[in-house]
């Protein structure tokens, strides 16, 4: 863990240069430029608003577009970081064969690239908040921590996935499918309160309800998305009970994932 931070710092210029390259070449010949980055959550938002108009969804008095956008931001960030991260090593095969630097630079770069796009979507959110006259509170300060947490989650999956993808390209194929399924296991389209109401209050699965809920919250995105909505829109502190199962799993998995990556790294240039 400390080695990740150390290398992140040591190779910050390289990561910055590569991330900048990713962004520049992606949008260089596009009129809309970096706006494409926010177009994805915005389009999804419009879809969801459309669906919501004929499927009743409880929003506790907060504007649904705002809540959904606050959920889509971390989700899109996570999803894109992971899919970029998993493919980051294989797509830089030319560099890997020619020059050495710690290979974790690639997943880290993928994440930093997406972080820039996340920041852009914060501006969109700010405009929406002004429109809906929602005033952020002091709990906004939770946000950096939540972003850091989602970065760690994305990295945990990226390290393992990227290393595996070098050996078996199946991983690169499977990840988008897994991610699109994961969206339905996260409170993106529906609010978390709906799940809580079903499982915790109505106990709809009987004695298994509480356990099922814990299982649900093992998905780190549940806590993150709920936390984003709390800190940004609702102006209250994130629900720690929702956060910690995922956090524990992530912090246990990360060292293994990183260790696996570093072990596999030795053979990247031979196998890729």
């Amino acid at each position: 863990m400390s080695e990740i931070i150390k290398n992140f710092f040591k190779y910050r210029e390289l990561i910055a240069a590569l991330a900048w390259k990713n962004i520049v070449i992606r949008y260089k010949q596009a009129y809309l430029g970096i706006l494409w980055a926010v177009l994805k959550p915005l389009m999804l938002l419009m879809m969801f608003v459309l669906v919501k108009s004929f499927v009743g969804i409880q929003t506790d008095g907060f504007p649904y577009p705002l809540l959904t956008f606050a959920a889509l931001m971390p989700w899109v960030f996570f999803q894109e970081s992971v899919s970029e991260g998993v493919n980051s090593v294989t797509s830089n095969a030319a560099l890997i064969k020619k020059i050495y630097f710690p290979r974790e630079v690639f997943p880290l770069t993928a994440m930093v690239t997406k972080l820039v796009e996340l920041i852009v979507s914060f501006f969109i959110l700010a405009i929406m908040m002004i429109y809906y006259k929602v005033i952020p509170t002091v709990h906004l300060l939770w946000l950096p921590l939540l972003v850091l947490y989602s970065m760690i989650v994305a990295l945990t999956i990226s390290f393992f996935g990227a290393a595996m993808n070098v050996y078996y390209r199946d991983i690169g194929q499977a990840v988008p499918i897994a991610l699109s399924l994961m969206m339905y296991a996260s409170p993106v389209i529906y609010p978390l309160s709906l799940v809580q109401k079903k499982l915790l209050i109505e106990q709809s699965s009987g004695v298994w309800s509480e356990k099922l809920y814990t299982l649900y919250t093992i998905n780190p995105l549940v806590g993150i998305i709920d936390g984003f909505q709390h800190a940004l829109i609702k102006g209250i502190e994130p629900d720690l009970a929702t956060l910690y199962p995922g956090l524990i799993i992530t912090l246990i998995t990360l060292p293994f994932s990183y260790w696996f990556f570093k072990r596999a790294e030795n053979w990247f240039a031979d196998v890729i």
Binding site: L14, V24, A94, I96, I99, F101, R169, D170
Partner: protein, 413 residues
């Protein structure tokens, strides 16, 4: 202490491990159910390689394709990890393994300089100071803000080379990069390399198929063969051995079809080439600075007229050294069918000891059309001792030195 130590380095690759994406997908299901079989056929790309390189040395690595040269460099640059053995590198390494690996076609030249500098680990501060120097060296001032995809291929390598050589490292690892750009730029790259080597005293490892370049730049040459370090020694002797090996390889490649290398009109065939000494006895090797004769045994199938024969020495990499033809010396108005011998007598063979080859041709008729021509027809070794007055080259130059003092005083008057 040696700046690079390579001890018992062995690298094995699994054959057939790199499957295509299609195969990977087809095998996907099988893979999910059991581990990939480890017992694949193994291939030793490097086999127990040992050598040391001292600081400031310039070492050339030569060998045929697939001898393990690039694999070796990859290990020194820490790109690949050894299967067995270990490598100690005491100092920073600038891997110029194929220039322009990080050049992105969408970015402009200037942007690429910054990107590549970051990839090579050059701090931004330093690259900003060196920017003008790099642009000037690359000769791309006009186009530096144009995307690289609009560059010609020569311009791309120029850019790549300029960035790569701006890196300050103790050890330079160079793989076939000097053959970039046009002749003028190649010259410039060569000068830059010499500057790095001679003036800045860098340790350099050079892989090239241009053996002359290696001979000129290196203090020591390592010859690799099938993953093994075959010879590690003085450039001249190692390169000569390599030339001989290459010749053998060419000879075996050609043995299947004897006609390769000889074009003939069908009127005449070359049967044999042999050497004789001044006494007329057959010899296998020629002696430097001694009289000898080269004999060409030909078989004339159809009568030919007005023939002129010519032969020449060339190096095994086809550098034509000298030729001699029979014009004005030998007049054969009609050459009847049957076997003949054409002999060229050489006085005091001036070619320095080494391995060479022979080309030979016959023209016939009033229009002097080619009846027979072939290159690399017979390899020969010239033996003898190089006189102390000549250090390198191909020819013995007959010359002498003298000395006189210029009297500046008398000049003014």
């Amino acid at each position: 202490m040696a700046i690079i130590e390579v001890n018992n380095l062995t690298k094995e690759y699994q054959l057939g491990h790199l499957t295509s994406l299609k195969e990977t997908c087809l095998n996907g299901l099988r893979r999910l159910t059991f581990q990939p079989v480890q017992e694949r056929e193994r291939f030793k790309a490097l086999d127990n390689v040992n050598f040391h390189i001292e600081e400031g040395e310039v070492v050339g690595i030569i060998g045929h394709n697939g001898a393990g040269k690039s694999t070796l460099l990859k290990h020194l640059a820490n790109i690949s990890k050894p299967t067995k053995g270990h490598i100690i590198v005491r100092g920073s390494v600038a891997p110029l393994i194929e220039v322009g690996a990080g050049v992105n076609p969408e970015l402009t030249g200037r942007e690429n300089i910054f990107l590549n500098a970051a990839i090579l680990g050059i701090p931004k501060k330093i690259i900003k100071q060196k920017l003008d120097e790099i642009i000037e060296f690359s000769e791309l001032e006009e186009f530096i803000d144009t995307p690289v995809k609009r560059y010609s291929s020569g311009m791309q390598v120029k850019l790549g080379f300029s960035i790569a050589t701006s890196m300050e490292a103790d050890i330079l690892i160079v793989d076939e990069v000097l053959a970039v750009g046009d002749l003028a730029f190649q010259r410039k790259c060569f000068d830059k390399m010499e500057d790095l080597i001679k003036r800045q005293g860098k340790t350099v490892l050079l892989v090239s198929h241009n053996i002359r370049q290696i001979q000129r730049l290196c203090h020591r040459v390592i010859l690799m063969n099938q993953g093994k370090l075959e010879i590690n020694g003085m450039p001249q002797s190692v390169c000569d051995i390599f030339y001989e090996q290459s010749d053998e390889k060419i000879a075996t490649n050609m043995s299947g079809n004897k006609k390769i290398g000889i074009s003939t009109s069908g009127e005449v065939n070359l049967e044999n080439i042999f050497f004789t000494n001044a006494a007329g006895g057959r010899i296998n090797y020629l002696q430097f600075n001694e009289d000898c004769a080269i004999n060409f045994e030909i078989n004339v199938k159809h009568e030919i007229t007005d023939i002129t024969a010519g032969f020449g020495f060339h190096t095994t990499d086809f550098l034509y050294l000298t030729t001699h033809n029979s014009e004005q010396q030998l007049s054969i108005p009609v050459l009847p069918t049957g076997k003949h011998i054409l002999t060229c007598n050489i006085n005091k063979l001036p070619i320095l000891p080494g391995v060479y080859s022979i080309r030979f041709g016959i023209t016939a008729g009033k229009s002097a059309s080619t009846a027979l021509y072939g290159e690399n027809l017979k390899h020969l070794q010239i033996l003898g001792k190089i006189p102390i007055t000549i250090r390198d080259g191909f020819f013995a130059l007959e010359a002498s030195w003298s000395h006189a003092k210029i009297d500046t005083f008398s000049h003014e008057k």
